[in-house]
């Protein structure tokens, strides 16, 4: 809860400082606050509930908060010098990132549909704004508009679902929902079913699941790279957390109702995500489709109604986010060199920048799911859980599409190591280097000690 205060405060302060044109101070302050918060969360667990159980911090929450803050810190360090190039100066970016982070924290802490709604909206509205970070770039504006229109639309559907649930259970509190719905016999309440499905659809939009994924390629491609990075990692993680909270806790008892639909969604998601990515020439778009597929894999964890599933999703989200951040970070550097948004910018990277190439290669192999990178264990966990619970066909589909998906990752790796003379040596700043190395090392470390993520 404190974190909400801290980051809201930080956001507001940034805005003021921006007014006073103290850009540097903003950066240092943000970094400082992030570090402190990270330190606190690792030493002091959050416990307790606020506002009459609207926000609840229990054991599920703390690891998630740690992950969020850590990712936030990484993201900040990676991209902290973005302000100058883009139209939105540092203050606004920082403030918006803080607010979005607050939204993510709210989503993590929520135990009440109202809070969930609020958190999601805070995230979304913040994202609508910064998606248009490059005002000059028409793609960016387009991304913002599309995201906004489709986002609001899905919010409407989400809300309708909440309303139906409320109508049936009489409360917004997740535990109450659970209690009441367990008392309702199967199939006797179409309203409950409808509500659940609508909420599922609304959230699926945020998580880029098929058939609600249409915004993802365009928005990811159009937004400025660091914004996309934020979307693909933090936001996705929070949304999936919302899924866990909702579907593994509140809606657990009504699982018959939504499991089949989720099954279908997952199958479509992993297929479409991986297959469409094959033909992309734009790196960000490719990563967008890839994130669709990964969302699908993470959703597989939601199907399994048990505690371990939560850990496996979290682990997957973490490893995916680390790899993503690294890739976006590296791509960000390439972009600055003036190449268009294309896969081709990776060509010959290894020749002049072997360090970057290796880092990217490791991240890519984590995304494919190759040992000893963490991605392998993440996938293994999720697939095994699903398999144990009888979703054999789904696991088969996931495996096949994962295999198909390996191709486009490998293509990038191949491009990088072609010894063509393409990109000149990029000078990488120290903080960037540091954080990227940390990320990659973590990827490997988690690959070797997968049980560490508890």
């Amino acid at each position: 809860m404190n974190y909400i205060y801290i980051f809201t405060g930080l956001g507001v302060v940034s805005l003021f400082l921006g007014l006073l044109e103290k850009e540097k101070l903003i950066k240092y302050l943000t970094g400082f606050v992030l570090l402190i918060s990270l330190g606190i969360i690792f030493t002091l667990d959050e416990k307790g509930s606020y506002f009459n159980q609207m926000l609840l911090a229990d054991d599920l929450v703390n690891p998630m908060l740690k992950v969020l803050l850590f990712l936030g810190l990484c993201h900040f360090i990676l991209f902290y010098n973005t302000g100058e190039e883009f139209k939105l100066p540092t203050a606004e970016y920082t403030a918006l990132f803080c607010f979005i982070l607050v939204g993510a924290i709210v989503v993590t802490l929520e135990f009440n549909l109202v809070m969930l709604f609020l958190g999601i909206e805070i995230i979304s509205i913040g994202l609508y704004i910064i998606a248009a970070g490059n005002i000059q770039d028409e793609k960016s504006r387009e991304a913002s508009l599309k995201y906004f229109l489709m986002g609001s639309f899905s919010t409407g559907i989400f809300l309708l679902g909440i309303t139906f649930i409320y109508g049936v259970t009489g409360s917004f509190l997740l535990s109450d929902i659970k209690t009441v719905s367990s008392g309702i016999p199967e199939g006797s309440s179409p309203l409950l079913l409808l509500g659940t499905l609508l909420i599922l659809s609304g959230l699926a939009f945020k998580a880029s699941a098929v058939p609600f994924h249409f915004w993802t390629p365009d928005v990811y491609q159009g937004s400025p790279t660091h914004v996309t990075a934020f979307m693909a990692t933090l936001v996705k993680a929070s949304v999936l957390f919302a899924f866990i909270r909702l579907f593994n806790q509140a809606f657990l008892v009504t699982s018959q109702t939504w499991q089949n639909s989720l099954w279908l969604i997952i199958a479509l998601t992993v297929t479409l995500g991986n297959v469409t990515a094959l033909y992309q020439t734009s790196f960000k778009r490719m990563l967008a489709y890839s994130s669709i597929a990964h969302a699908g894999y993470m959703l597989m964890g939601v199907l399994v109604p048990e505690d371990p599933s939560y850990k496996s999703i979290l682990f997957y989200a973490l490893s995916y986010s680390l790899a993503s951040l690294t890739l976006f970070g590296i791509y960000f550097l390439l972009e600055k060199k003036g190449k268009a948004d294309a896969l081709e910018s990776f060509r010959g990277l290894a020749k002049q920048n072997p360090e970057l190439a290796v880092l990217a290669a490791i991240s890519l192999s984590s995304m494919i799911g190759l040992p000893p990178a963490a991605g392998f264990f993440a996938k293994l966990n999720i697939f095994t859980q699903a398999f144990i619970n009888g979703y054999t066909l789904l696991v088969a589909i996931a495996l096949i599409t994962s295999l198909i998906g390996a191709f486009y990752y490998l293509r990038v790796i191949g491009l990088m190591f072609k010894m063509d003379n393409s990109v000149e040596k990029i000078h990488v700043g120290l903080p960037f280097r540091l954080i990227v190395w940390v990320q990659v090392i973590l990827l490997i470390v988690f690959g070797i000690f997968p049980a560490l993520i508890q």
């Binding site: 639309f153 599922l200 058939p211 249409f214 297959v275 469409t276 990515a277 094959l278 049980a451």
Partner: protein, 638 residues
């Protein structure tokens, strides 16, 4: 201290990482050396301390679990190391002898440009080997197993500019791989049958099985396949002689003392499984014996000093194998230890000689080196006496034990084993005489260059010589009034197996028989030494050059029984043929079409699929609505 056992494999790993990443550019040679040697020395120290603690504690075995490596459903895989007599023995030998060889290598490789790379690979090897022997479950043993395979490949082909050497490395790798297949299959079966890969669990559950159970026999055969590849038994031994392409310290470390004993270790560790499979034991014993004999026979006529030693190693491994097969487990381990001492010593001496002879390895060009390389000569002599089995050197005790057990098993067996021992002493002394005695047969420049090796190389020689001499005293049999400390030490490891086998126990030999056997073997060995002396020293017969035609048996031995050629004929040629056939007809024709077709289909699918995303928002929202409607409909119709 047992809890720190992880340091033993970990320190060399650190050494490897430091040297491989920073060694070339950032470290001075002294730094590289310190890291490489220091890590091994520290590992040795830790092992020694743990060893003494262990002896005092009176425990049978201590398992230290560090963390849970993976936990998927009910499959749990902890990373744990085992401190027990067997693993301690292996660790002591590996770190101790390894350390001595490291010291030697400092001198041997001092002129080499790739000095840091060499030592980083050595450390990598140490790490893998130590992981292999200290692991408490089959999984990490396998990881270490693979690790030594990789290190072996890297080190054999170290001077990679010479393609022959890299081929040798590849050959080693391929043969190892073949064995690994069997090993891996064995591991999987173990999991299926016993539900775990942890040694303690597997072995305690094994107790409930009947002897001769089919599945256990399968498991042991598969494990033996893996072991025989690593430990160079028939038919997977031909890589070892070729592995001599690597620098001599490598040959000493891996192909004499440690890596090749991994297979022996595997079987010894899994003793209870083997005890339940008498069929496999027989196979192991016979294979061991045949290998021992075959290799000894080939060694008789080899002219390359390292090749002789290589075949000698194969032969001695055969003895260890045979010992395992006749259920003399601790004898096998005893011989492992003594062999490590004298074989490493022999190789290091060979290195010394080669170094002195400006990289000459053919003994026909040597001779009379006694004067010029006194320390090398003395230590070599000692090692040769040890390997021949002359008391009171270490080799005598270990070999004698094996022969005794062989006799208990089967008299004919013993006969052949003894014959092999005679061959061993013969070819070793042949080597000695040809190299050190007589007139120098090399070129003028070589003579000029002859010098004893520097101290850094001779000190390890001396230490190893001492060990070869006194190392046997830990295993003096009761016969001679000894206390058999060695056997007692290893007893806990093998006790359960011994119990299982007790029904097979043949009567213990009477002391008289033992004395007789001992006397007979010593006498015959001395005779073979004298024979060698007669031929090579007194009569000064020198092996002839390639061109001269040889007698049939000589030919057979010299050309290694044409086994390599045989392999080429029956395995490689048909393989090429099948490969061509499959490649052209089936692969290109059918499978490629299917696979590429699938790939193209998917790409085509992708091409069209992405048109789904046409950029128009309204269309997107429409898609969403359709999706929603479908989901709702599906739910309400069913």
């Amino acid at each position: 201290m047992s809890n720190y056992i992880i340091l033993v494999p970990l320190l060399p790993l650190l050494g490897f990482l430091l040297n491989v990443f920073l060694g070339k550019k950032h470290f001075s040679k002294a730094m590289v050396t310190t890291i490489a040697l220091g890590s091994v020395a520290l590992a040795f120290l830790v092992t020694v301390i743990t060893f003494f603690e262990f002896l005092n504690s009176g425990e049978e075995s201590i398992k230290v679990t560090y963390y849970q490596f993976a936990q998927i459903g009910s499959f749990s895989l902890p990373f744990s190391l085992l401190v027990d007599p067997l693993s301690l023995l292996m660790m002591l030998v590996v770190t101790g002898v390894g350390f001595l060889i490291h010291i030697y290598a400092v001198g041997y490789m001092s002129h080499d440009v790739d000095y840091p790379r060499f030592f980083s690979y050595l450390n990598l090897f140490m790490f893998s080997m130590l992981l292999l022997v200290s692991s408490a479950n089959y999984f990490f043993l396998f990881i270490g197993w693979e690790g030594v395979g990789v290190s072996s490949f890297l080190l054999i082909g170290f001077w990679f500019k010479n393609t022959n050497f890299t081929y040798a490395g590849m050959k080693a790798m391929l043969m190892n791989r073949t064995g690994d297949l069997g090993f891996f299959a064995g591991i999987m079966l173990i999991y299926v049958v016993f539900g775990s890969l942890e040694f303690d669990k597997v072995f305690s559950r094994a107790n409930d099985f009947e002897s001769g159970t089919f599945i256990i026999t399968m498991i042991t055969i598969l494990l033996f396949i893996g072991a025989s590849a690593k430990s160079a038994q028939i038919p997977l031994y031909t890589w070892l002689p070729d592995a001599m392409a690597g620098p001599t310290p490598v040959s000493a470390l891996m192909h004499a003392a440690t890596m090749v004993t991994a297979g022996i270790y595997l079987i010894a560790r899994s003793n209870i499984l083997f005890a339940l499979a008498p069929v496999t034991l027989n196979i192991v014993a016979i294979t061991g014996l045949c290998t021992a004999l075959l290799a000894a026979f080939i060694a008789l006529s080899q002219n390359d000093i390292k090749k002789v030693l290589a075949y000698s190693t194969v032969s001695q491994l055969g003895y260890m194998c045979m010992a395992l097969g006749v259920t003399a487990f601790s004898s096998a381990m005893f011989h492992f230890m003594t062999h490590a001492f004298f074989k490493a010593l022999l190789f290091l001496c060979a290195g010394s000689i080669i170094h002195a002879m400006s990289n000459e390895q053919d003994v026909r060009n040597m001779g009379g080196l006694k004067k010029h390389l006194p320390i090398t000569f003395l230590t070599f002599l000692l090692a040769t006496l040890a390997i021949a089995g002359i008391p009171p050197l270490s080799g005598f005790f270990s070999k004698d034990e094996i022969l005794v057990h062989a006799f208990e098993y089967n008299v004919v067996f013993w006969g052949f084993a003894l014959f092999g021992a005679l061959l061993t002493s013969f070819y070793m002394f042949r080597l000695l005489f040809l190299t050190f005695y007589g007139e120098f047969r090399g070129t003028h420049e070589q003579k000029h260059h002859l010098h004893e090796s520097p101290n850094v190389m001779t000190y390890p020689l001396i230490i190893l010589a001492v060990l070869s001499a006194i190392g046997g005293f830990v295993g003096i049999p009761q016969l001679l009034g000894g206390s058999q400390k060695f056997d007692k030490f290893l007893e806990p490891v093998f006790s359960k197996a011994e119990l299982k086998l007790s029904h097979l126990e043949t009567a213990h030999l009477s002391h008289a028989t033992e004395w007789t056997l001992m006397g007979v073997s010593i006498a015959l060995i001395i005779m073979s030494i004298l024979l060698a002396r007669r031929i090579y020293f007194i009569k000064k017969i020198i092996p002839v050059s390639e061109k001269v035609k040889l007698s049939f048996w000589h030919n057979l031995s010299y050309h290694k029984f044409y086994i390599d050629e045989l392999y080429r004929y029956i395995l490689i040629r048909p393989m090429h043929f099948i490969h061509d056939f499959l490649n052209l007809r089936i692969e290109a024709g059918i499978i490629d079409r299917k696979v590429n077709g699938t790939g193209d289909a998917v790409m085509g699918f992708s091409k069209y699929l992405r048109l789904l995303q046409n950029g128009k928002t309204g269309y997107y929202i429409f898609g969403m609505v359709i999706g929603l409607v479908v989901i709702l409909a599906l739910n309400f119709i069913f």
